[in-house]
Symmetry: C7
Subunit: 85 residues, 7 copies
């Protein structure tokens, strides 16, 4: 994988580039949410569609739409990071 020499990617760019794509979100309290990122704001509050929740790594529920408060977010990872931007 060649090393890019381009300028820095802003964290908010990652969220913008992940809109309408799959993300995995890790949240304090040993929780995870995977689904389609529908929206976000500067506080890293996230709106996720068709969200599958895990607690302690176990499947726990499905939410048609969920708003996760940014305070609790540990990381957001685009599931398919091969994107042109």
């Amino acid at each position: 994988m060649p090393k890019p020499v381009s300028s820095a990617l802003k964290p908010m760019d990652v969220l913008r580039g992940s809109l309408n794509s799959s993300v995995l979100v890790d949240v304090r309290g040993n929780r995870g949410y995977s689904g389609i990122l529908e929206g976000y704001d500067v506080y890293m509050n996230l709106v996720i569609r068709d969200a599958a929740e895990t607690i302690g790594g176990q499947d726990h529920g499905m939410y048609p739409r969920i708003l996760v408060r940014g305070d609790n977010v540990i990381y957001v990872s685009p599931v398919n990071s091969v994107r042109g931007e």
Copy 2:
């Protein structure tokens, strides 16, 4: 479910779109509240009517009206996400 190509949904839009509808709210300390969202503010403080409380997944009480402080919110999920907006 077709993938939308529309613009992003702001987190506060989810709250506004959920007014007078059922929401499920997860709160730190293993608590949950489900009821009708009556109001909110930018701190994600929430007003919920006819709120059923669970603690550790067990039914714990009913509140005609409850104001949940935003600091403690983990997520808000509209119970019926099929809404035109």
Copy 3:
């Protein structure tokens, strides 16, 4: 109970509407305070009169007047929510 179609209720409206009425306040650390709401501010600091304290659900003490710091508040619930406002 008919479903209101009115505009949203702001969280601070709930506090203002509860002045001089009974509230139940849940606080981090497994505490609760019930009494008459005498005052509040935008940080959700609360002044409660004739406050009965519970710790872990057990009665723990009475305070003629108590100022609860907003940081610790989980929820505030008006005890009698049937109020004209």
Copy 4:
């Protein structure tokens, strides 16, 4: 005790009205301080004179003067709430 119909009491009013009077202060970490309130600021930092400290409900020490950082305060209660103000 007659129910006041007056306007709301601001939380900072309670602190101002308690100056040079006895207060009981509850602090995170299972601590309490009782003494004479000498001063405060908007962060709820408190100066207490002749402060008796309890930890876990046990007497732990006396301080001629102590400055308690507001971040840690859970509640402040005037010991004698029958005051003209």
Copy 5:
């Protein structure tokens, strides 16, 4: 000790009045520092000279100079509160 009728003592006044005097500082995580207060700022960051550290009440070390971050401070107590100010 006569009860003062003077105006309130601001928390920062206590720090200013303790400069170059002995203080006892209690810090989250069951720690304490006693020494000479050399400086402070509005965040309650503290500079202490000849600081003796206790952890869990046991002597743990000596520091010629230490900068304690205000976030962690629970209280500051002047060791000799009989001071003219």
Copy 6:
């Protein structure tokens, strides 16, 4: 290694100087991420490419790209600190 006599290095300079280079990031909750730093912002939110995650020191997963929220960061260490800047 000779002791520099130059002016101070700002923390954000370390992040800027680490762009497109390997970093090790330690995160609350006993987690670590190592990979290529792609971006950051003033909140210390970090974008890491080809991130290897450890939990409790054990390998836990790989992420093509991950956005770590700054609130959770304990430290960032450039893996190869011998850089001209």
Copy 7:
């Protein structure tokens, strides 16, 4: 050591006076870092060179350069406090 009668030392002065000198930094989660302070900012984010890490008092690793987030800092102590400033 004679007692200074000079004006107060600002916490940030201690950091500035420690540049390019040895410091011991204590961090939440039972960690410590000792090394040469290369930089800092007003959030108390710290850049440390040749940093030796301890966890629970045990040696844990060496970092050529490390950026410690200020939020986690408990104290910073100059290892050699006899400095002219």
